[in-house]
Symmetry: C2
Subunit: 363 residues, 2 copies
């Protein structure tokens, strides 16, 4: 057990932006909310799953919706609490702790703000080890954990308790309710016992995010190469270095979908890297060559500072390095690839591990 | 207290079709379900509101969605029960009785089938005295009764508990969930105490529907003019007599919207009556002259048999009589007109009572 204060939150926010792989919502808003909650209610208790009593109820908290909307429609913090209270009453059991469902973007940080406010501990774990756009794209799902009962709450005070027959229905019903409720809402979802979290979650993700942030900060302060330091920490690969040439982005069906083109910066370079995103970067190609594909992580870092750049924050002319990071082994199973692999997202490429794609390149 | 058997159901179905003013879903399916439930579980206990104990919880049951879909997607009866069970558990109180929210169409009869199945009494009342297309269009709403908590259940087994901040939000959120859940679902909605029902419902509507059915049947059996008999019973007006010339119908946003043209059958007649519907007939015009407009009732009867014709059942060439019936006085208030008057539905005509429209014509 340890406490998360302001410095830890700053580091977690950097790690969340990186593991967010461009999506998950800019962690900036989540960071502000978590910092403010700490200011008001004090530091947040972080527990490893083994410190939780047997049978305790753990309920992840998450924002659902297009990050583009969220930037315009900042959650007040009330929504998350409303969702929690409604779910507690529906289940009829006290909630022992919360946790993120994503180790990426705003959803890494919003549960911290809620935990501070409610005086609940946060479990050092998540359900993705990165960010993904849909509710069933969590490792809990791979083990058959139900997203229901779940509660959706909006800033107006509406709440919906959803009992879906499976997690794809949960996603479908929640997605259209979200659009109806203004494009972004707060969820209390995937209620689990301690035992379910231990078996099905990706553990120690908040600590990993914090380490990423600390690494970037240390490299900056000591004028070391920040991208290289991150790659070493995460066992990742540099995929492409260049500058942003073109961004196509549209919010459709509650998602920010689009592509970004990065052109080479070496003299006479004619190479172009294309990133395909649906909230998150899901596929990186150089011409027709696949550099990295989901569920492996594709992140865009500012070449000079190592700061992660989100798909929302990506700007024409920015000098950046695209990196690839191996996904957690839970995603590299058959059911993992079926759930979040390239075919699910409509990309007609097979899944190949980033380390194998990069190995073949070296040859 | 009395029991409803098969003969009563047959009569109620005719009254429901007439008060359904063309919409509310063809009562035929509801009738079959109610008859089958009586066959299986015995007659249904009908209570007047004064026979209900103080503080008892009464929960209306209703189908939501486009009738067009419902014809293809007949409810199994399980959905209504699922919705009831989920609402009972959510509220934490036994449900004493059910009732219809509409005195029109399928929603008059489905609660009877549910009541037989669950062994619950039905209250002789409803929330419209006719049929209307949206959830907030009930007299309960005029008195500030909340539609929430309400439960939506589909035939797949999904259920949603909706806690909306007001009834327009309830309508909006439930409508899009309904479309998502396949276009038609069953609701447990507007949970009320006995006292709320007594104050806010339209009383004795099931008995009135039964009387309408008995009147039509009696006229048919005795070769009397059935349309005239119905007009006398309800204090209504013959608006137009003709045959169906043209029907335009589309299912948009979960509603069956459209127009029907009735042309005069008198020799050399060049008159045309146009009916505008949104599930229900809401406006009848002859040329530019308004004959009758919502909330007053517009029904289309088979001229020979007096049998009500729904907007779904309306067929080219059918000989029919369009009638107008004064709405219940609860609808003729300012808030009533605001809620279900012509402007709400987008018709640019003022509300004038059908008896005044018809009086001025005689002059």
């Amino acid at each position: 057990m340890r406490y998360l204060g302001k410095e830890e939150i700053e580091n977690i926010a950097v790690g969340a932006a990186l593991l967010g792989t461009g999506g998950g919502g800019d962690p900036y808003i989540g960071k502000l909310m978590a910092l403010q909650a700490i200011e008001e209610y004090g530091p947040i208790k972080l527990l490893s799953i083994d410190e939780v009593p047997e049978g305790a109820l753990i309920v992840p908290s998450a924002m659902m919706g297009a990050p583009t909307v969220m930037i315009e429609k900042v959650p007040s913090g009330e929504e998350a609490e409303t969702a929690f209270t409604a779910l507690k009453e529906h289940i009829g059991q006290e909630i022992y702790a919360t946790m993120p469902i994503e180790a990426g973007g705003v959803n890494s940080l919003l549960p911290l703000a809620l935990a501070a406010k409610l005086g609940l501990p946060v479990i050092d774990a998540d359900g993705m080890g990165r960010a993904f756009p849909e509710l069933q794209m969590v490792t809990f799902y791979l083990d058959g954990v139900s997203a229901s009962p779940m509660v959706l709450a909006d800033e107006k005070g509406n709440n919906i308790v959803l009992n879906a027959i499976n997690n794809k229905w949960a996603e479908r019903l929640a997605r259209s309710a979200t659009i109806d409720m203004g494009g972004s809402i707060m969820l209390a979802i995937y209620p689990m016992t301690k035992e379910q979290v231990k078996e099905s979650a990706i553990l120690d993700s908040l600590s990993l995010e914090e380490k990423i942030g600390a690494t970037v900060r240390h490299a900056k302060e000591n004028e070391l190469a920040p991208v290289q330091a991150v790659l070493e920490l995460l066992g990742g690969f540099e995929l492409f270095k260049g500058k942003v040439a073109d961004i196509n982005r549209a919010t459709t069906d509650g998602f920010a979908k689009g592509t970004a083109q990065i052109v080479g910066v070496e003299e006479f370079s004619t190479e172009t890297c294309t990133l395909f995103f649906q909230n998150e970067h899901l596929l990186a190609k150089k011409g027709e060559e696949v550099l990295c594909v989901t569920p492996d992580l594709i992140a865009v870092l500012d070449t000079d500072t190592g700061t992660p750049i989100t798909t929302e924050g990506i700007r024409y002319g920015a000098r950046c390095t695209v990196i690839g990071i191996p996904a957690h082994k839970k995603w590299r199973t058959d059911i993992g690839i079926e759930t979040v692999g390239p075919h699910y997202f409509g990309y007609d490429v097979p899944y190949t591990e980033v380390e194998n794609l990069q190995k073949s390149k070296v040859k």
